[in-house]
């Protein structure tokens, strides 16, 4: 290829990568939470993102106000849905072999995605709000990406504050270290599972609401985000929450870099190949941390 890579291009790639990465980190944090607390592999994670995106779509369709405010609707709604699913179904595979949770959540995601197809049809939807970009020197920053970056960072920071400083957050962290010890310390482990799954779903929904203004919304959109969340977790080390942040940024950067040289379809495939490579080379992730 005879394309000359300029400094501007590199700068653009890095910035775009970081902007996208924050979103990946936030969504992956949810998946890491579920895995850390319950040892459950939640393939349905992306489904909550999709439902969050649809919430934003209907919000802007029916209410017509700022779609970013729909976070106030999508996050609580999906929190509740997550809690419901955990209470009725997921809780039964919490202590089972991981493949059981994998298959169970797989079934749940199929059912939910197709319910969405039935309810919303597979027509592509979109939410028009912010278009255009801010120019900072030679680098173009897509407005919607920057806003979603800001929200993603804010939500993620809040989540970390929550986990570190609040009683419930500490209980969640304790349970993810050892549920037996947590139990003995008087922590209601069942309740922690409920909250964790709910919070994780809310985080995914937030991701959905934020991407709703940027990409096409359709029932199968969540799949690729589930996969990328796995990739982020594997990059950062399963169960390792700060690692999820690093992994998200890394993924964002790698993807943008790949899109410089490859077609968009192939650069999607990059995520998958990267996952297999990382799994093979460092199953404990880049930062160590517990593996299955």
């Amino acid at each position: 290829m005879s394309v000359s890579i300029t400094a501007e291009m590199v700068g653009q790639v890095i910035i775009s990568g970081l902007l996208a990465g924050a979103l990946y980190s936030m969504v992956a944090l949810g998946l890491a939470l579920i895995f850390g607390v319950m040892r459950v592999i939640n393939i349905a994670h992306g489904t909550f993102l999709m439902l969050g995106a649809y919430t934003t779509f209907w919000w802007s369709q029916l209410l017509g106000i700022n779609p970013y405010l729909s976070l106030l609707a999508s996050m609580p709604l999906m929190f509740l849905l997550g809690v419901l699913l955990q209470r009725t179904l997921v809780t039964r595979v919490v202590n089972a072999p991981e493949l059981s949770s994998l298959l169970l959540t797989f079934g749940i995601s199929i059912a939910l995605v197709n319910l969405a197809q039935l309810a919303f049809t597979s027509d592509l939807r979109s939410v028009e709000y912010l278009t255009g970009a801010w120019l900072v020197g030679p680098i173009a920053l897509s407005k919607s990406r920057v806003i979603s970056f800001a929200f993603a960072v804010a939500i993620t920071l809040f989540a970390f504050w929550f986990l570190q400083k609040t009683k419930l957050g500490k209980a969640i962290r304790a349970t993810s270290q050892s549920s037996e010890v947590a139990l003995v310390c008087g922590i209601n482990v069942q309740r922690i599972h409920l909250y964790s799954f709910g919070i994780a779903s809310a985080l995914a929904a937030a991701g959905g609401s934020l991407v709703a203004v940027m990409i096409a919304i359709q029932p199968e959109m969540g799949q690729v985000y589930t996969f990328k969340s796995f990739l982020v977790i594997v990059l950062g080390g399963a169960g390792n929450l700060p690692g999820a942040l690093l992994g998200g940024m890394l993924l964002g950067l790698v993807e943008q870099l790949a899109s410089l040289f490859l077609t968009t379809q192939l650069s999607e495939a990059v995520a998958y190949v990267l996952l297999v490579l990382v799994l093979l080379l460092r199953p404990a992730g880049l930062l160590g941390g517990r593996s299955t």
Binding site: I41, I43, L89, R92, V93, P97, E98, L99, S100, L102, L103, L104, F106, G107, I108, S109, I110, A111, L112, V113, N114, L115, Q117, L118, Q223, F227, F230, T263, Q265, L266, E268, A269, A271, Y272, V273, L275, V276, L279, L280, P283, T292
Partner: protein
Amino acid sequence: MKRVAPAVLVIGLLLLVLYPLMASGYEIRFMLQLFMWVALAQSWNLISGLTGYVSFGHVAFFGTGAYAAAILVTSHGWHWAPASMMGGVAAVILALIIGYPCLRLKGPYFAIATLGLNEVVRALVSYFESVTGGGSGISLPPIAATGQIYYAMGLAALAVTAAAHLIITSRVGLRFMTIREDEIAAEAMGIDTARYKLYAFLLSAFIPGVVGGLFAQDTGYIEPISVFPLLTTITMIVMVLFGGKGTIWGPVLGAVTLFVLQEMVWVRFLYLHQILFGAIIVVVVLLMPKGILGMLQERYRLPRTI
């Protein structure tokens, strides 16, 4: 029971052989597809049911076979029958390339890795447009061969079920199962789990490749979306889980039951059967992890080799 079973089998096979002479085009098509699903489900069973290494991307082998066969037929003038066999070979080669690294991953990680596999293969097929026609797909010359393809599919279903029978009733099958039961103990007992896993994986890829090639000829046109759909993998999984993974007749039972239900009832209601598939997976995992046949085996102390 032992005396009756072979007789029933022979009569059944005879009926199936004579079927095309009595049935309409639509009905032959119906059975043809049924055979295809039996073949696919049984193949998935060989790796996922026996070794416990659940493959979430198995349709990649189907699609690879379809494309390999289609290219041989259209660009090189091959007859569809040997072309389909080469489709199987292509699938096995793909399985070797992926299986060698991926089977070293632990169960759940393997499943996740194969989840993406399908997408990678599809992306690659779309990318190499000059060979595969990219998004425009490949059109195969129409041939009035539905009857022949019926027999070919039937043969494929028969072959893989016979293979399942041979494996599950032999020590080779037992060794596959030890991988599922306790891989570490199996290794410690002298079983080369890496090799057996690979064999199972390669074996499970062949028939889907062949069947993909047959499918390509039968439908006359393929494109990336049509031969790499996630729904195919999902259907394979549901059929085997429902019927009973790790058994010989479980996948057959699952394939027949769900395909018939799908064609007769659900196809009228868009997306309903997919929702039901999801629900069935949930129900099976929570309530009957061994599937129908597995439940019967437990309840009535039937031998494992059915």
